[in-house]
Amino acid sequence: MIALVIRRLLQSLAVMLVVSLLAFVMFRYAGDPVNQMVGAETTAAERQAVRESLGLDQPTLVQFARYVGRVVTLDFGVSYQFRQPVTKLLAERLSATLELSFVAALISLFAGIVLGVYSALNPRGRISSLLQSVSLVGVSLPTFLIGILLIYIFSVSLGWLPAFGRNGLIPVTENWSTGLLTIEGWKSLFLPAITLGLFQMTLIMRLVRSEMLEVLRTDFIKFGVARGLPRARLYFRHALKNTLVPVITVVGLQIGSIIAFSIITETVFQWPGMGLLFLQAVQNVDIPIISTYLLLIALLFVTVNLIVDLIYNFIDPRLKDAAS
């Protein structure tokens, strides 16, 4: 088990190194950093001074090593647009994105599993076929359209919830303020979280349903029925656990989608998170922010994959033996 963890950690490290090479190449060669930092009337000598002070005259390998060194100490350079350290800009917005993604993921996981199991157990029921149709609509509607629809219903027509922004914040530390402690905070979080979670929820629901139907067809369930085991026990003890093994993998991979869709959701609701910052960076070709965002997402992916692998091993005894 420990050998497995170490091996996985080393693999993750390798992936991160490759991604940081990519980020470095972007940072260094997509656009001239010097041009972005100095004004138009700067002399050639001054430019050269800036170049040297940034270490851009050094060999590429040295520059990459320095880049990695800076990344490890959380120094990601200065944003072209805001003339502020990228680290500070991202840190200010980290809490907004994390709270939104976390709540959305919880909603989608919980509702997705419950509804998926229900429609697998009653495949011919009226509610199940309704759920299937609704989920097809849910998968077909682009996230931003769902968000706009929700704004129209709950903000414009009913006036129950705010249409955009993040309110009711209580500062916890210098860079971290939370909206989870006030009613107002929850009110402004509600619509974005539903919008972000809905697509994942339909996906998880469909996946749980088809996996569970597959498991219910297997011999060991048939044998369980023939042994006279009660339905509830077969469904929730035997079938559900076997269903969750593949579901965990996909849910892990879906973390990437939650982040991608958080860019969209944050745009629809003007939610001041990292996604909105990234989008502005793409529009204004603010390479330091783009490359840092890439690194951050890669780190998240690698971490989630690591956790998924470990959960997997914990659940499935066959893998534990294969690993040791």
């Binding site: 972007m26 060669y29 997509a30 656009g31 097809l136 609509v137 998968v139 077909s140 509607l141 682009p142 996230t143 931003f144 359209l145 706009i148 629809l149 704004i151 129209y152 414009v156 249409a163 991979l253 990437g256 989608s257 982040i259 991608a260 869709f261 860019i263 969209i264 745009t267 629809v268 990234f278 989008l279 960076a281 793409v282 529009q283 070709v285 390479i287 783009i290 890439l294 997402i297 992916f301």
Partner: protein, 316 residues
């Protein structure tokens, strides 16, 4: 199971028409009213949008045809509605029906080109990986695995940002459609490559390929003339499903403002512009592009879902 085997027991001399009428997929199609309806609607949408320059009441992007006096008119069935603006007008007096038809047209053409690019990349890499195996195969599939974990939108955004970073002279107006097509192509090739690769690996071991190799045909000819026609089966289903995804991707990029510019608006651009008017009560400016987008994607997905199930009886 019984349905799948029944085709082979049919006498061969049946006419084509009778065979189609007796074909299980066709029977299933006739029975499935929802799919029939979706297909009919899809044909109408595709037809209307492709013919937009000829059937749309006005050319919404010809500034001369716009009259500011006609701005913000609601649809005709509302109290203040006016003919000929069936679906109302936006703040510049642009006819919404024409805008939606032209927007559909842009969305459909760009997405289709993107999907075809993705299919071309995926099929080529898939056949290469499956035919040669070894390092090339491992490399291509490793890249595919990694890419599959990143959502298409994110990849498209990164590609967009990078292209503009490396080529500062690129303006959004001139390059936007190509950037989107390339982004879609590079985001969706993986599924084709995986499917084609596995069927190529099966075909490669068959006698007719060995025979072609003995004749001394070069690998390119074997792949293109012998293997390719035999592995193209599933491509249709993937194309259909990907087409829906590509339309969503294009619309989303345009909505986010990195896609098509207002000069050449797709549905996503129209929705981004229209969202502001939601709060001032002009709901129709955002509603009709939204409905058109939803109907387009939904009908494509219904058809794709049904195709996948019909061609894969095991899943039924």
């Amino acid at each position: 199971m019984a349905e799948a085997s029944s085709d082979t027991t049919k006498p061969a001399e049946q006419s084509l028409r009778a065979r189609i009428a007796d074909n299980d997929i066709f029977i299933d199609f006739r029975r499935n009213r929802l799919v029939m309806f979706a297909t009919a609607l899809l044909v109408v949408i595709l037809g209307a949008s492709l013919l937009a320059p000829w059937i749309a009441p006005t050319d919404p992007f010809d500034p001369l045809s716009l009259d500011i006096m006609n701005s913000n008119l609601p649809p005709v069935w509302q109290a203040d509605g006016q003919w000929p603006f069936l679906l109302g007008t936006d703040d510049q007096g642009r006819d919404m029906l024409s805008a939606v038809l032209y927007g559909l047209r842009v969305s459909i053409i760009i997405s289709a080109l993107g999907v075809f690019l993705a299919a071309a990349i995926g099929i080529c890499l898939g056949v290469l990986a499956g035919y040669f195996g070894g390092f090339l195969d491992a490399f291509i599939m490793r890249v595919a695995d990694i890419q599959l974990t990143f959502p298409a939108i994110l990849i498209a955004l990164l590609i967009d940002g990078l292209l503009h970073g490396m080529l500062p002279s690129l303006t959004r107006e001139s390059s936007a459609s190509w950037v989107i097509i390339i982004s879609i192509g590079l985001s969706f090739w993986v599924q084709y490559a995986r499917t084609i690769r596995s069927s190529t690996m099966v075909e490669r071991k068959k006698d007719y390929v060995n025979a072609a190799r003995l004749f001394g045909l070069p690998p390119v000819a074997i792949m293109a003339r012998h293997i390719l026609p035999n592995v193209m089966g599933p491509v249709l289903v993937i194309l259909t499903i990907n087409f829906g995804l590509a339309i969503i991707t294009e619309a989303t990029l345009s909505y986010l403002g990195v896609g098509l510019p207002p000069m050449q608006p797709s549905l996503g651009t129209l929705i981004r512009i229209g969202q502001e008017f939601l709060f001032s009560g002009e709901w129709w400016i955002v509603a009709f592009p939204g409905i058109a987008l939803a109907a387009l994607v939904l009908t494509i997905n219904l058809l794709g879902d049904w195709l996948r199930d019909a061609l894969n009886p095991r899943l039924r």
